[in-house]
Amino acid sequence: MSKILSVAWRDFTHTVLTKAFLFAVVGVPLMIVIAGGATVLIMMQHEEPPIEGTIAVVDSVGDLADAVALEFNEEQMREDQQEQIDAMTSSAMENAANPLGGADMMNSSAALQRGEVRIDVERIDGEAGMITDDLKERVAEGDYLAVIAAGDELLEIPEDRQSADALTFQVVAAEDMDVDHVTLIQRRVSQAIVRARVDRAGGDIEHARALVTRPSAETVRLGEAGEETSEGELQRELRRIIPIFFMMLLWIASFTGGQHLLMSTIEEKSNKVMEVLLSAVSPMQLMVGKIIGQGMVGLLLVTVYSSLSILGVIAASQAGLIEPMQLVYLFVYFLMAYFMVATMMAAVGSAVSDIREANNLVTPVMLIVMVPLFLWMPISQAPNGTIAQVFSYIPPAIPFVMILRVTADEPVAAWQIIATILWGGVCVVGMMWMAAKIFRIGVLMQGKPPSLVQLVKWLRYDH
């Protein structure tokens, strides 16, 4: 046993005490935190240069220019800013679940961080939707910040939403105008057009806004004892993310450990140190020691990343989202996942002489273990569905599927959890036995790497 532990300790220390590993474990999360913090800081500190000047609005009637002037009114802008803060809070929650929505959030923040804006509006009596060359010249000369023109059709009640979407108005601005200022003008004029349109239709814009504002839900969840637990939007979204987060954590940690195991086994073969080791320990002791050593590496990763995540949810006052039992499952299924990946990696690593040869054998292993990633969606949607239940018993998918299931909303029957853990344990022992057979022969093999068929044949050899 002490020899196994010596092998394990060497493999562990010689993996974690490398610059590359320290960078991966500490450096990468640290960089993400620093980069995230710096971005927020920069965004908070950032103010576009103040903008001051006059916008010319081509308007034969006069109501559009008034509406635009109202949009640039300081008080109106303050109110809008407050609205945007509120909107951003809820959009941030949506963005957490939907990364594609990130663009909206950036727009909101850009508007929020804007510098001081003082814009006067001058009405130009002219044909609606037409911007004369003279006006364009004045923009170029700097007399106007921009000239706006909107056709009459923009101010009438559109036939339907589709035709309304197709309508455009014109903005002529100087080439060097800050893009945020251009965006600001576009958005405010767009709002002004809606305001003028509602006015012309005889309505009230605030009334109309109130009418189209969508209500938000107040969800009440019932605990096992029937007690009510209120849950906000953010919690709901986080709850959806947690299973995939747990599975990815399991996947990354078990694969990092497995990958290091593969590399260190290949290193020992290519460095010709293998036979020296085998004069001191048996192949089984060597393999088990290496698996334990790299398992500790994976466990360290799980601990670091899950601790950071728990700190994150505690910081977000959402500690209730992660239950202690889920962490126990994470530990148990990590061990299962790691041992399954590690036995395959040890077998492959022992059979080849360099990393290029390993790729041919690792690819099938990778494909097998990636199956749960592809199954994430159907399993998340139906944690007790047929697919989820079937794959809960197929190695090496067992731990990945089960961690998705036990961290999902829908409870999994206790007997299923126990059964999968027991069955997974049996599978681990079986895989370990097969890996040991291959390892014992593979570590002394040189030359052409074996095919998968040959590896299977090795299982039948006695010596």
Partner: protein
């Protein structure tokens, strides 16, 4: 046999269609230094690996230190032919790791490693990474890894390969010292003159078959060329007149003469007769070198082709 460090009985090993070791019987007496000879691919490393229980014989028995190598791993020092070091590991840590795997306490190891590094003339490398050492230095470190746990039985597979003459001599001395302290040593080599200097027993195998198992004296007796080499002071005398001398060979490049003597002749009597006939600068019985014995046996066992191959192997060392 109680005084046998290694006892191999009727061992066979096949790899697919290749019969690597055939019906091998071998006894390595405790406290002896045995040279394990044979051309490339003869089955030496396979036999050594079987002795070490790294691979197993198809049939036959191998007893090491009274039981199996597995049970006695910590009493055996092994320098494999395929040897290496952890390139990124520091020399001291590497030796400590191997020593720990061999069951030695860390506290003992630290002083022992320092002492041994001093003895192999590498006193300042403990903190250096293995990859920073030259190939020869690495080989000395590998040798140290094989014996750092002070084993009773030392098995060295091609220990001299790649060493310069100075380091080969150093290794030679260390092997002698280990022998003097009572350890059993077995090593395979192509450097036969080194083996001749330190071995008291030789095994020669070819194509997995044992061709020779004898002490140096037994070899000299068995392979006596029945020749006396003499360098007379006053040129050629009438040596062919001496009773028992069959023929006298001479060459232009060498002033010495070779007297081939009859099988039943007494070489000492002939040598006395030579010296009675006139002054000589030197006179000695000719003995076959291990190289010549090696080539002759390989030729007998595997034909001229095998002998040519053996000559080529020897010329490379």
């Amino acid at each position: 046999m109680t005084n046998a460090a290694i006892q191999i009985s009727s061992v066979n090993k096949r790899f697919g269609r290749t019969h690597a070791v055939r019906d091998l019987d071998l006894v390595v007496p405790t406290g002896s230094v045995c040279g394990f000879l044979g051309p490339n691919g003869a089955g030496k490393s396979t036999t050594i690996r079987m002795i070490m229980s790294i691979i197993y014989p198809d049939d036959g028995q191998i007893e090491v230190l009274g039981s199996s190598a597995l049970a006695n791993k910590d009493k055996i020092g092994y320098l494999p032919e395929e040897r290496g070091v952890y390139r990124k590991m520091k020399v001291g840590s590497f030796l400590e790791y191997i020593g720990t795997l061999k069951g030695v306490e860390k506290s003992t190891l630290r002083t022992r490693i320092a002492d041994w590094l001093e003895r192999i003339e590498l006193p300042h490398v403990a903190k250096q990474r293995c990859e920073e050492l030259s190939k020869g230095m690495q080989q000395k470190v590998q040798f140290l890894a094989a014996i750092i746990h002070d084993p009773d039985l030392v098995i060295l597979d091609e220990p001299f390969s790649g060493l310069d003459p100075v380091n080969a001599q150093l290794l030679n001395t260390l092997i002698r010292e280990m022998h003097e302290s009572g350890k059993t040593i077995i090593f395979s080599t192509h450097v036969l003159h080194q083996a001749e200097q330190i071995c008291d027993r030789f095994f020669l195998i070819n194509h997995g078959v044992k061709l020779l198992d004898a002490t140096l004296d037994e070899i000299h007796t068995t392979f006596d060329p029945r020749t006396i080499v003499v360098e007379p002071v006053n040129g050629a005398a009438h040596f062919d007149q001496i009773p028992g001398v069959r023929s006298v060979r001479s060459s232009e490049s060498d002033p010495r003469l070779e007297l081939e003597i009859a099988d039943d002749a007494d070489p000492h009597a002939i040598m006395r007769s030579v010296m009675d006939g006139g002054p000589v600068k030197s006179i000695a019985r000719r003995q076959l070198s291990m190289d010549e014995v090696f080539i002759r046996l390989v030729r007998e066992g595997g034909g001229e082709e095998a002998a040519d191959q053996a000559r080529e192997d020897l010329s490379h060392v």
